[in-house]
Subunit: 239 residues, 2 copies
DNA sequence: CAGTGGTCTAGACCACGGG
DNA sequence: CCGTGGTCTAGACCACTGC
């Protein structure tokens, strides 16, 4: 995969921040200096620095410089589009995915509406329970338009469907809307999760869009109350 | 307030999207054309378009153009830093803020640690209940370092502390970390909220930083389960 | 005062999509 | 093939910080 110049510079700088070449609370070289050392223009350096800033690794301060932030102060942002696999790997926990249902069929009305499909279009239904350290904690209900995802297997569902879409099918997900609410646990929650006495679940709804603005996927991720955690970095943008 | 050229172009374009001059699912003029009509360079146009894209108003598609998105399809992103006042105004609901506590004192240990203060530093403690349509639904606990916020009054607390910090004190908030978890309701929750039978509350923790990376504020916002809702747009960034 | 990051320009080449 | 957005350059001026 061809990387742009600013991506390479971003990778290099973030590596140097991670390994301590640039220490927390110290300043990066100025943009002019960086442009010189990387043999590039200042605007290109700025794109790399903006990436660092967006990922919470530096803080740019006008007329003073770019300060390296302390990464350990806040465990790394788990915000934006993150799949279960990434999360569990990041947390370094033993985890397992149990596929309960996997079929392609005509969707119920409310799903057809969510995915904005014409009548007669088929949809993949996936129901998966996620187990972390022996406890079934998350119930995932995924619905994929069969138009975009022609084939889906148990093995794919046990790993990351997300990886499959991006790497194998070459579908480039461009943005997603996420909604978090708390709802009463339903029958499926009680059947497939180790719910204990909790009467509610945290529901994370995901709407995933392709580059061309079409909706490809609707997902409900239902979490046991006590194990749910969501972290978000909000950088104050100019506007 | 002096606006940059790309901010003005952003404002102009977003106004034209809102009032229907540019219709949903149609395309904006190309970047070259826009550069021509606004009498500016293409890079400046691109900054404006990136703002539109970040705010969910357009979708840029390589080699094809920028598509205007349908704003009503998803009610507008309530993500990032949003104050209670903004939310309630956006929702157009009758709302009230009840200030229960307001005092400056030496903080308990765990708050001192959260704000990373030296021993002896004072902290403003604020406890506010938020009522929407007659029901007390949110309990806000705010802690401000007195070093940065010397004075705080009931009136300020009944309106937006956020506005006060930004506009009156001139403190420019640059980024914030947000954490969402569910916890058991405590005694204060039961006392100050209309909790009904709910045993849990959704806790939103906010850590607010200034430009120079110092932590100025720690806030806990405790929501009644059934009324909590969080929406987030995640744009897939390059990296 | 010199140095910083923020903005802006007028070019350029590229990969990609669609006709 | 042409037009698109994505990247990149080598300058420039500005407002602001810190000395």
């Amino acid at each position: 995969m061809k990387q742009t110049k600013y991506q390479q510079i971003y990778n290099d700088l973030s590596e140097n921040i991670r390994n301590g070449t640039y220490k927390p609370n110290s300043k990066l070289p100025s943009e002019h200096e960086l442009a010189e050392t990387y043999g590039t223009s200042r605007e290109t350096i700025r794109k790399a620095l903006n990436l660092l800033s967006q990922n919470g690794m530096i803080q740019k301060i006008k007329a003073r410089g770019s300060v390296v932030l302390d990464l350990n102060r806040y465990e790394f942002p788990v915000s934006g589009l993150v799949s279960f696999k990434e999360i569990s790997e990041k947390m370094n926990r033993s985890s397992r995915t149990i596929v309960h249902h996997l079929e392609k069929k005509l969707p119920e009305e409310w799903i057809r509406e969510q995915l904005e499909l014409e009548a007669g279009a088929e949809v993949w239904h996936v129901l998966r329970a996620r187990e972390i350290e022996g406890e079934k904690i998350i119930l995932d209900r995924d619905f994929f338009s069969a138009k975009w995802v022609p084939e889906l297997t148990r093995t794919i569902c046990e790993n990351s469907i997300y990886d499959y879409l991006e790497n194998d099918l070459g579908l480039s997900v461009s943005y997603a809307k996420k909604e978090i609410v708390v709802e009463e646990a339903d029958e499926e929650d009680r059947r497939y999760l180790d719910l204990h006495d909790y009467k509610h679940v945290v529901v994370v709804r995901n709407y995933v869009y392709l580059n061309d603005t079409t909706l490809i996927e609707y997902t409900e991720s239902r979490h046991r109350l006590d194990k749910f955690r969501f972290v978000d970095f909000a950088r104050r943008e100019k506007q």
